[in-house]
Symmetry: C2
Subunit: 339 residues, 2 copies
């Protein structure tokens, strides 16, 4: 009953019997042995901490499972690590919940598990506990992943919505829309002159480099589903502030702006998986920008707007021709199952 090259997932892999054990030892144990997972425990024992912790969870249902620059495994680890990072927390412990669809090829599962292990190493974060379930063909889509994680709060003061102030400078750490357009191009067969790939990456190392400026970094949020516009809207909706973004300052790759024009969508609504919106004290904005530029995930960082007094709308966009456009979050967005 050892696992063969052309094997696929069967219902029995999820039922706690011998095939479940076999899957765990042959697929997971090898990949995870160097990153700390003790695969047969029901839970992981963590040491006592003297500082506060942050706890976060995310499920990932992206389609397709593999795409230029990453796969659902890269995405699941990066996305959850980034949720901790934007709260000023150092990623520490990760859990992994897999829902596999009957018929998934074990070769593909192994590739994704390898990405998970690799992204854990680079984040870095330690995978300490996991769970696998199998659903019958036609009730899943290859693989869904839940990653939950615990981090140690190291930014002091912690970034918080309540710390956003008028005149805060809004910074993004690079090109927007790469992830969403990459996925959309995979689904539609759209081709680009310059190959585009997801920006999906764990960002704790980047954010940690700003730790000395915690007092000046009022708020951070990763701009995933709904893009930077939705993040901006969420950060000031119901507050006494509004946000003005400057269209001419938004870092957008030509392939992305071309695709947006072609498809009639707005780059500020497109999901990113390696981008953070920073709200920064104007006195520290240049220093923060310089620090971001030093990091591989911040090379194209830019100031893209600022916080204003409250106006009739939460988010305005100063367009390339100098007019102001209302940015309201849509009912849904353009692309389902982007993460």
């Amino acid at each position: 009953m050892s696992i063969q090259k052309n094997d696929t997932i069967t219902m029995a892999h999820g039922e706690g019997g011998r095939l479940s054990h076999n899957l765990i030892t042959s697929v997971f144990h090898d990949a995870f042995k160097n990153i700390g997972l003790s695969v047969l425990d029901d839970g992981a024992l963590l040491p006592a901490e003297t500082t506060a912790s942050v706890f976060t969870t995310d499920s990932y249902v992206i389609n397709p499972l593999e795409f230029p620059g990453g796969d659902i495994g890269t995405l699941a680890v990066s996305g959850t690590v980034n949720d901790l990072a934007v709260m000023g927390a150092q990623p520490r412990w990760l859990s992994l919940g897999l829902i596999l669809e009957e018929g998934l090829s074990i070769a593909q599962l192994k590739r994704i598990v390898h990405s998970i292990a690799q992204t854990c190493s680079s984040a870095p974060i330690q995978l300490v506990t996991g769970d696998t379930k199998v659903v019958d063909a036609g009730h899943g889509d290859g693989i869904y992943i839940n990653t939950s994680a615990i981090g140690t709060q190291v930014f002091s003061p912690a970034p918080a919505l309540q710390r956003i102030k008028k005149d805060d400078v809004i910074i993004i750490n690079g090109f927007i829309g790469d992830h969403g357009i990459t996925i959309m191009s995979q689904r539609t067969g759209l081709q680009f002159d310059t190959p585009l790939q997801t920006d999906c990456a764990p960002l704790w190392n980047l954010i940690e480099s700003l730790r000395d400026y915690a007092a000046d970094i009022h708020m951070m949020r990763d701009a995933t589903r709904g893009g930077i516009a939705t993040v901006c809207w969420e950060c000031v909706n119901g507050s006494s502030f509004s946000i003005e973004l400057d269209e001419t300052k938004l870092p957008i790759q030509p392939a992305v702006s071309g695709a947006c024009e072609l498809l009639g969508i707005e780059p500020w609504f497109i999901a990113n998986e390696g981008k953070v919106v920073f709200f920064v004290n104007p006195d520290a904005a240049d220093t923060v920008l310089k620090l971001l530029h030093k990091h591989p995930h911040g090379t194209h960082a830019a100031i893209i707007g600022h916080v204003t007094e409250r106006s009739a709308h939460s988010v305005l966009l100063k367009t390339t021709i100098g007019t102001r456009r209302i940015i309201d979050i849509p009912a849904g967005t353009q692309l389902p199952r982007i993460c």
Copy 2:
């Protein structure tokens, strides 16, 4: 765009736009407001702890979603709480990851969310962070749930596989097989004279009542997928011990033993969701049994076997006619998607 009585989940509910916000505030906020969830944060800030923590994760894909005595919500909270409890950890913080299928009725979602809130209250555990994704019709099965949780280690010494000794007495806290047979009867239309229901329940309160006997309770494990036989097998496989179970001592309801005979399956392989296998120092076994009998989830607790020197097989069953049968874990088990 408020949510109406006959509404169903659409793809837009999962895309981070206005409908996602609407779902969160109208369905989740109401149900969870009294159990601590701040619904719009990416993560939850937890206080520093002076003791070690336990971290666990589980996904739930049970079919059907609702069944006598519970639903997937009851199951998800209970199952994860019990994983902490059997490690001797007091449940503290819970995360909730939902994967909803397009077309799920919002009325059913509300019932399940209500069960989640209710089970959190009775466990008790505090729901602190969550995430919702939507998949297209035909790529899910109504709702899949991941619950991850953090507990505080309070049993000292902690129960552990390495603490199992020869002559340890094996105790179960009540009837076996109720959950599995309840689910199976829902799927097959099997009817019983006496209505059967799942044993699904959070067991921390029961286990906490044994805390003074932590030194005598060498190991605990909840007997879910694969039943008590698989738990016994996992606990001694590869060790220098074997286990002998006594068939005449196994607490089994007549409806369950009848269904097992009819279906040709063994009750020791059937999943439970409110049963723990205890490995107890023989000197303390009677005291532990008495304490279990005092608790509503331990009324039918019984001594069902003991740990022996290593024999050729991990688990033997002394049958009702006095012979010994080898219990080997099967490749899969009889029933997929039982939890």
